[in-house]
């Protein structure tokens, strides 16, 4: 079966698209109330890139992330992520597609009643890894994010920074090719913010494409990476080694 879908994908995807980890062409999306959240968005991200999506609250950043996760579907345009045509993907293939992505959120979204180890192992169980692999992979990813000593802690016993590290470990343990982070440092103090950003850079250096949504101006200016700025659902700027553009 896996062989079959792979073949179909090859036939459908054109070579232009295959080059990109993420490719959006003329994407429009508005919610039920009719107010456009994204308008005519064109965006290409190559594998291994580190990209900031910047913009004020309500500018459409989270909508973009949701489109990339195929949590929602665009109204029109073309969107291709990891070789999957998200306008035409079958519902039953969505789980398989999502296994190429890792995602973290501002509010961490850890499972409160499970400890650190189980929160991370959870991701591996979902993709049906064997317990033997899980016992190998989870400790290794936990030490990579600097949480080697906290296996047994419950989320509420951890600081915000530590909780986001657990969330990162969970997002990374399945070795995704793209990491999406929606305001990952929105709830963190400056020290933890810097640490998480360094961790994201490290992850990127290991080959993972990283897309970080933020409206933290200091971080964007400090890191000197590609910055895509959204304003009212429109990409108003896309700069290599850019800075944070203020609304005027």
């Amino acid at each position: 079966m896996a062989k079959d879908t792979k073949k179909k994908r090859k036939v459908k995807a054109n070579s232009n698209v295959e080059k990109y980890a993420i490719c959006l062409e003329n994407i429009n999306k508005s919610y039920e109330d009719g107010v456009p959240a994204l308008t005519d968005v064109n965006l290409k991200i190559t594998p291994g890139e580190f990209v900031f999506i910047a913009g004020e609250t309500g500018s459409g950043k989270s909508t973009l992330i949701k489109l990339l996760l195929r949590e929602i579907k665009a109204d029109s345009g073309n969107i291709n992520v990891c070789g999957y045509d998200l306008m035409r993907i079958k519902r039953r293939n969505v789980p398989k597609f999502r296994r190429n992505l890792g995602v973290v959120f501002q509010n961490f979204r850890l499972l409160k009643e499970r400890n650190v180890y189980d929160n991370v192992a959870f991701a591996q169980r979902i993709i049906q890894k064997s317990e033997r692999e899980i016992r190998k992979n989870v400790p290794s990813i936990l030490s990579a994010v600097g949480l080697a000593g906290k296996y047994k802690a419950k989320p509420k016993q951890l600081s915000g920074g530590e909780q986001q590290r657990v969330a990162l470990a969970r997002a990374l343990v399945n070795k995704p090719s793209i990491l999406l982070a929606d305001e990952p440092t929105g709830n963190l103090d400056p020290k933890n913010t810097t640490e998480i950003m360094h961790l994201l850079e490290k992850i990127n250096e290991n080959g993972t494409t990283v897309v970080v949504v933020t409206h933290n101006r200091e971080i964007v200016n400090l890191m000197q990476r590609r910055v895509i700025t959204l304003r009212k659902g429109v990409i108003v700027s896309d700069e290599e080694k850019g800075g944070y553009i203020d609304e005027d």
Binding site: R91, P95, R98, R99, V103, R109, L111, F122, R125, N174
Partner: protein
């Protein structure tokens, strides 16, 4: 599906069962009540049926003839009765045989009686294949020329057939009501479970959980409730049945040839698999369709 996935989703299902205790208990109680009534009705019905069958195998009508009626005529009437479809067997009992049987019953009291006092008691014992036709048959025989008297066994089949259908209708009604209540409650239990775990389900979907993986724990939850809900009344009924048999044997020994009960295992070899199947079925379908409705992955 991998074995480890099976056990993981099963364990999550068990955790669900304990997570929303009150709804679990409510579902359990209705399923148990439903299957308890089912079990009770079933036990009663098979026993009644058994009693009727036993009664049918026994004598139900005895036909006595006019004094001095020649043997040939008696034989003729016997043959006439035997030709009817509801009659399975006709046995001739001569006066001597009747006396021999009766004196054996009397025991010591019959000693010294040398002449047969039952000269005119030559009779036919009629065995029926369908007890419900008894009353009509008696009417028919009574109007035959030469028949002096027709004795019916005091046991009336009609009573049993009446009770039988009453038990059937009442229990079918109650089972139908309780069945829908239990499906409703299971569905509610699962819905609550889903809403409690909304966050977890969202995260699972982001990670790339398949529909099966997200749904399986809730379906397991339903099956577990159904399984326990059918096991409880079975255990209870087993003890009640044993106690009832003992009670009947002790207090109603004089009716022992009428109240012929079935041994426990004759009833339970059928009742156990059927109850378990119904319980698991309710649990499975109740949760399966709820999960399909609420978990659009």
């Amino acid at each position: 599906m991998k074995i480890s996935t099976f056990f993981y989703t099963l364990r999550q299902g068990i955790i669900n069962v304990f997570r929303n205790k009150w709804f679990t208990l409510a579902s359990l109680a209705t399923i148990s009540a439903c299957l308890f009534i089912f079990g009770l009705a079933y036990s009663l019905l098979v026993n009644f049926q058994h009693m009727i069958k036993t009664a049918e195998e026994g004598v139900s009508i005895t036909v006595f003839y006019d004094e001095g009626l020649p043997q040939e005529e008696i034989d003729l009437i016997g043959a006439q009765i035997g030709a009817r479809t509801e009659v399975s067997r006709v046995v001739f009992v001569s006066a001597d045989e009747a006396w021999a049987e009766f004196s054996a019953e009397l025991g010591e009291a019959a000693e010294g009686i040398t002449e047969n006092p039952l000269v005119n008691s030559a009779n036919h014992e009629i065995y029926l294949s369908d007890v419900s036709a008894q009353t009509q048959l008696v009417k028919y025989i009574e109007q035959i020329e030469g028949v002096r008297k027709v004795n019916q066994s005091e046991f009336t089949a009609n009573l049993f057939t009446g009770v039988n259908s009453l038990v059937t209708y009442v229990s079918i009604g109650m089972i139908a009501i309780l069945l829908s209540v239990s499906v409703f409650l299971i569905s509610n239990t699962v819905t609550i479970g889903i809403s409690v775990r909304k966050e977890e389900i969202t995260v699972m979907k982001y990670i790339g959980a398949t529909d099966f993986f997200v749904r399986a724990p809730f379906v397991f939850e339903g099956i577990i409730i159904g399984l326990i809900g059918s096991a409880l009344p079975l255990v209870l009924l087993y003890y009640i049945y044993e106690v009832a048999l003992k009670f009947l044997a002790d207090k109603f020994a004089f009716l022992s040839n009428l109240l012929v009960t079935l041994p426990v295992w004759d009833v339970f070899t059928v009742l156990i698999p059927v109850s378990l199947a119904i319980g698991v079925g309710i649990g499975f379908f109740g949760s399966f369709f709820t999960v399909r409705k609420h978990l659009k992955v």
